[in-house]
Symmetry: C2
Subunit: 874 residues, 2 copies
């Protein structure tokens, strides 16, 4: 019979898949002899069974739970539901991967009227007991029974109003009893039955609620954003309760073995005396720094420090621990590898190697590549900052600077960003898991309440998003959509700027600049570069981007999009002239105007890249993208170009496409208008020759986009080769250059052997390849992808995470076919997937030669490539 | 050294690839001892060399031509360019496949002033000699030197005007001399040099011109329409001239061993005395029936009849022969398997088997499947015809009836058809190869001049297009765009009706009806059915189409598109109600209205198909296709539906898609709105149960469109199975049904093994699969496919001819993957390629189970499937 339940003393830290992260670590701490309130873990397999059995808990599982509850009672020396010696338990989710706050927790299970009375006798603390009791009813009703939790808050407010008090802390024992009674009454109204007094019923309902919470919408969103598979399921931890709210000798806290913001090697954390864990995490009260515990409770501090060291050494990583002190006795409730800022992650990694705790290879695997993003995120322009004065200061919860229009709800921020393309800042009293989409889309997050470990802070750090938390000087009215910062009223849509590295908040706009990276970062990235096999290039269309790319460690340009140059103000006119040409001669004339501009663009890029490879893609978008579409704009253009309005309107109309993504673009333009390819070849080759004369070794790579047929590639390549030969004859200079193609059309991939007979390299254009292979366009898929996530058909956006399952098959086919006729063919990737770590893992496995991504993602790609190399060398 | 030139006496009929059809047949006739003017053939390989050598003739080839010219002189006992005993030659193209009139011919090569003078002495016929000479200059200048041929006609008109004569025949010797002089003068003006008097120069220029003509635009178009590969090249036949225009004892003609229109076993043809071949083919003079030759020249007729029989027995097929009589002596200039109408093809095939000349398998291969189309083409409605009187009658050049708006140029007809979707009739004085696109697009062709073997007649029969030729009673002014038929002026755009089976021309509209097929046709198709392995189904969306499909021999319905039913007037309202629903409840309400309508549709189809398989595809197009797009229409709809205009406008807007082809359609609709799939399942299953109760064995096949992921298919299939189970529970009837998918998304093909775990059948939707695999949409590709043809990147429209090279690879992959997990998976095709013979050949090779095509193409598919089976059994 399958074992679905494990005592903490039966498991260990390696059983994360079965017991979840929290369960495995509780077991591991137990085996290390640390003071852990005992209990048992119901496995992730039980959760999977729950779903495959149609959302019911099988009898065999229920029997095991009963059995282990008895064992637990034996270990704790208390009895669940017993009046005289009651065992109270918490029920907490715990998935393989940490999903903080995404799933449900219920505390104080095992309380009912009788047990409460018994506990009053035992503790002599009736207020505590009835406070715990009303919390149980409140949470249980919300989490397990899905009653409206706002009604409970209203009842509390009503009781407070009757008594004329403001703070929960001022509610006395009688008030708590009133709350218990009124909560039960509301429960009965809603459910038609009494609140379950049988602890066993409470427990089973709580376990089910945790299983169910695996598939609540915010958990699904979180998994999608964090690439956690939906079929893992969550474990459930049933743990004996300890109480941090039993008086001034009790408390609860969260601490890290090193500073999660800076990486400094020093115990870092917060605690609240006379409080339960939820008070710390929810950010309702602002806690004290862990250091103060050394003064107030030195023995506890000492014991905790030692445990922290033990755990860090044991796990060989920075730990994030939860603890509770009950009547002077320390209990460890959880430990896990701590989330940290990118800056801290790098410092800790470098320190762990220096301390000989880890090898370079080990620490390379400890840093999440996506996190590096925040290091490369903008900081305030130092000059502009000199002139700025912070209006208020909060906690520096997640580093980086941000500037945007203020919105007071996640929905409003999402709407402003997606519909109006605004840069937004989310300003909230405090955030909750419902805000996760809004936080993801905003430039930064500012909260009025909550500490460094509040929801906002933890989530923002995970996202690499700038966050200032606990900025209590701000007066906020979320409903009326305004706040007051240092006396200034800020309405929705007004600009503010925040700095998550120091907690400063500024009114108005402060421009931001990119960060520079050196020191530990350079050391760490150097290790990554030693380890990785995949080359990393950047997508850059101009000398400025090329410089940034080089600075971030790019080894070449994998995609230089020539059309971006076409949009610049000084050349769009010539481009339009070319498009509206009705004869080849007119078109050649317009192209002749573009030639010197393109040539000098390429010269600039070649100079910056100083001999590193540069891949230049020929004109790709459909021509109508360069023309105005509105009547008035067309009329203005006609006037400017001296054309007949009707004629120009007809031209614009004739260029209309039903499916622009599948229209006249890419190399199809070169087939129709070979003179465009001639001009672009001339610009590339002449620029390369000119810059070569300055002493640089330039070997340009010309990339033909959207190839779907070997003859099509042959045709365009012939134009390129003929033109290049002409130029070399004219100039008497012999220049090496390569001609290759993008593989972004399924047919190009399927016929890659034929294409490779003439193509010297392939660059997988995974954006288009994904569109064509899935048969949906990126612009239109938004309408239905949400349904695909919620119905668990797709778990991630195939445009962000490379689909190794389907599109990957085409990449594999094309790579094999290409190599079959040209064993040394160079294979790269230049879609946006080139900067996505999980996608990079696939490209490493396939043995591609390089990935190319946006300059700001180069560091991520370098680290991801190193991790992929390590992962695939095992 | 490669042999590039063959004497007629060196080759034989099996050397078609090397010598072309004409060359191989001339050699074969020579070896049969028939009277053939001797000469040599320059091979198709020489043509290929010509192109690979940059459009030049290699020295080695030129040396061989010289050598063989000497041999030919020896055989003919004449000398090329010799004044006393001159050899004159014709130079004719001859590709592997017959391309009548598409490429160039030059006659009378070897004439110059001196030779002409010599010939006058030899023949005593100076008018004939100078007529031949001026024809040489005229054709050579046009064909080999690309001078404007209209100028030559003008010169002739000027000379005639000076002399006050109307007919060419009235030009005397002096006039011919004048023409020679003025033609030469014009030549010198244009080219700056004299007309080449050296016969060798004339010959080489003519050979080059023929090679070049392989790639003239009309030849490229012809090849594309007839699926002839562009890399075959043409051979060149250099043949000693014989003259049908040496007087009343000379003549020239074309004849068939059987009637090419009806198939009747009787010599059939036309001849003109005192004429050259071009006079017959060009349709300038109307020739006499071959029977009259029996009266006027009985020995020649007898000799020709015997030769005709010899050739037909030899080739075991109906022959199309060209002959010339020179001073009473018969020469055979060409024989080939004759083009024939579909009706004739069937009759000849059945007769050849009855005559024991061929086996069933052999005659199955002799009929071009596409031709059957014309048999199934509409005839006039007999009732309407009773009330109609023919205004005039021409020659019944190609059978079938047609009715359309008159256009007097191919360009106008093309424009009217493509831009305004009009049904057109092309009315011309006579057609020429330039008209081929217009003939292809028109419903029928009517010419004023030309016989049964004129260009119009031959080409129309090849196309299976209705044609009336030689209708000399019509007065036509093509430039002014009108004609006068029996006193009635017909302007461009007026309707006429023509019957190609009897030559009748009617003014106004006569409705047409589909043909019925039986007799020889049924016999022949029965043989095809015995031979073929592939099943043939039809695409049909309603009982009417299903009936037609059954009549044409369909073995089931491979594609029943449910959305076509949605557009019908009585249900579009409910469909729109469904679309604009903002809640599931509203949508269910609208769907409930559609259910009985869909159910009764399916009942109707099931009844007609009486147990044959029916595959029903669920809703496929994006929802916006069902809504109006124009402002005024939206307003009207809002009024009708009692909706707010702004709200409805917003709904329409929100459904807009950037790339509708890659948008929210197919099974994506079922994922977003499972209630649509539920309703459609209910309609199918309930209909099947109802009709089963009538005693028919109905096993519906439900087809999920646009599947790209196994989980997606699983999701939709689950809805179908759950709903079907519900209905079976409700009704207590157990019904067999199958659920399968279309494979039309590349990813679906790549993951076909995963999809096949649950899919019981695949139907390849080759239209969409072609779009996605090529990465271009059918609606947009028109803009650039022309460039791809002219640049020889693609040789045929991938939407008409299945791309076995690229898309075929995906079909192969999907078939293999599908069978790997489900060995008996049923594989079909329901794109338009299912009715295309060359595509069917590929599907046979891949071992698919069936093809499905439009009802009118079922016969074609049956024959093509039989041919494919024979071809692939070798």
């Amino acid at each position: 019979m399958t074992k679905y339940v494990y005592l903490f003393s039966e498991g260990n830290g390696s059983m994360r898949e079965l017991l979840g992260g929290k369960g495995a670590n509780l077991a591991e701490m137990t085996s290390l002899g640390l003071p852990v309130p005992q209990g048992f873990t119901i496995t992730t397999e039980a959760c999977t069974r729950y779903y495959s059995d149609g959302e019911t808990i099988g009898e065999d599982i229920e029997r095991q739970i009963d059995e282990y509850m008895e064992k637990m009672e034996g270990i704790c020396g208390k009895k669940f539901g017993d009046r005289k010696n009651p065992l109270l338990v918490s029920v907490r989710s715990g998935a393989r991967a940490s999903m903080p706050g995404m799933m449900d927790t219920i505390l104080n299970l095992g309380l009912n009227d009788e047990v409460a009375a018994g506990m009053v006798e035992l503790t002599g603390n009736p207020r505590f007991v009835y406070d715990s009791y009303r919390r149980l009813i409140q949470t249980f009703s919300d989490v397990a029974m899905e009653l409206d939790k706002r009604r409970f808050e209203e009842i509390i407010d009503e009781v407070k109003a009757t008594k004329g008090i403001k703070q929960d802390i001022d509610l006395d024992t009688e008030d708590m009893k009133t709350l218990v009674a009124r909560f039960k009454e509301f429960y009965r109204e809603c459910k038609g039955v009494d609140f379950p007094s049988n602890p066993k019923d409470q427990l089973m309902a709580a376990v089910k609620a945790v299983f169910r919470s695996w598939n609540n919408p915010r958990a699904i969103t979180y998994r999608r954003l964090n690439d956690i598979p939906g079929d893992w399921g969550t474990a459930v931890n049933v743990q004996s309760m300890v109480f941090g709210n039993m008086g001034e000798d009790s408390g609860t806290g969260v601490a890290f073995t090193r500073n999660p913001v800076t990486g400094e090697k020093k115990l870092y954390g917060e605690f609240l005396m006379n409080a339960q864990g939820e008070d710390v995490v929810a950010g309702v009260r602002t806690p004290s720094h862990i250091d103060t515990l050394a003064d107030t409770h030195p023995e506890i501090y000492k014991q905790f420090s030692e445990i922290a060291q033990t755990l860090e050494k044991h796990y060989r990583d920075m730990q994030d621990m939860e603890f509770t002190v009950e009547n002077g006795k320390l209990y460890m409730l959880q430990t896990r590898n701590g989330k940290r800022t990118a800056q801290a992650a790098i410092k800790i990694a470098v320190d762990l190697v220096a301390e000989k705790m880890c090898t370079k290879e080990e620490v390379i695997m400890k840093v999440e590549p996506k996190q590096l993003d925040s290091l490369l995120h903008p900081q305030f322009d130092p000059e502009a900052l000199k002139r700025a004065t912070p209006a208020v200061t909060g906690l520096p919860a997640s580093p980086g600077a941000a500037c945007g229009k203020v919105y007071f709800s996640a929905e409003d921020a999402v709407m402003a960003s997606t519909e109006r393309g605004e840069k937004t800042l989310l300003v909230r009293l405090e955030t909750s898991p419902e805000d996760i989409e809004g936080m993801n889309i905003a430039e930064g997050v500012l909260t009025v309440r909550g500490g460094m470990t509040s929801h906002a802070a933890v989530v923002a750090r995970g996202m690499g998003k700038c966050c200032v938390s606990g900025c209590e000087d701000i007066i906020i009215d979320e409903k009326a959509r305004y706040c007051v910062i240092n006396g200034t009223r800020i309405n929705e849509g007004d600009y503010i700027s925040i700095d998550g590295s120091n907690g400063n908040v500024y009114i108005g706009v402060i421009p931001t600049v990119a960060a520079t990276v050196s020191g530990d970062f350079a050391t760490f990235m150097g290790w990554a570069d030693e380890i990785r096999r995949l080359k990393v290039r950047a997508n850059a269309d101009n000398p400025r981007d090329a410089e940034v790319a080089l600075k971030f460690g790019a080894e070449g340009i994998g995609l230089c999009r020539t059309e971006h140059m076409f949009f610049e103000a000084d050349r769009i006119k010539a481009v339009r002239e070319m498009i509206v040409s009705s004869t080849v001669e007119q078109r050649r004339k317009a192209l002749a105007k573009l030639l010197p501009m393109q040539r000098s663009d390429f010269e600039g890029i070649f100079r910056v890249m100083a001999g590193h490879p540069v891949t230049i893609r020929f004109l790709d978008p459909p021509l109508h993208e360069f023309l105005p579409q509105e009547e008035s704009d067309i009329a203005a253009l006609a006037e400017e170009m001296g054309l007949d309005v009707a004629e120009l309107t007809a031209t614009v109309k004739s260029l209309h496409e039903f499916n622009p993504m599948m229209g006249h673009r890419g190399c199809r333009l070169s087939v129709s208008f070979p003179e465009i390819a001639e001009m672009q070849t001339r610009a590339v080759i002449e620029a390369a020759i000119n810059v070569s004369r300055e002493g640089l070794n330039i070997v340009p790579e010309i990339m033909v986009p959207l190839v779907g047929d070997p003859k099509e590639f042959h045709y365009v390549r012939s134009i390129i080769v003929r033109t290049a030969d002409e130029i070399m004859n004219e100039t008497g200079v012999k220049l090496d250059y390569h001609v290759g193609t993008m593989i972004e059309i399924p047919r190009g991939a399927l016929l890659a052997d034929e294409v490779a007979r003439e193509a010297e390299f392939f660059s997988f254009g995974t954006n288009d390849l994904t569109q064509m292979t899935f048969g949906f366009s990126r612009d239109d898929a938004g309408k239905f992808l949400g349904d695909y996530y919620s119905k668990k058909i797709y778990e991630s956006d195939p445009f962000a995470r490379f689909d190794s399952f389907g599109v990957g098959k085409l990449v594999k086919i094309a790579s094999e076919l290409g190599r079959s006729v040209r064993p040394d063919i160079k294979l790269g990737v230049c879609g946006e997937h080139g900067g996505d770590p999980m996608s990079i893992d696939f490209f490493e496995k396939e043995g591609l030669d390089y990935v190319s991504c946006s300059p700001y993602r180069v560091s991520i790609a370098r680290l991801a490539a190193a991790q992929a190399a390590l992962r695939n060398s095992h």
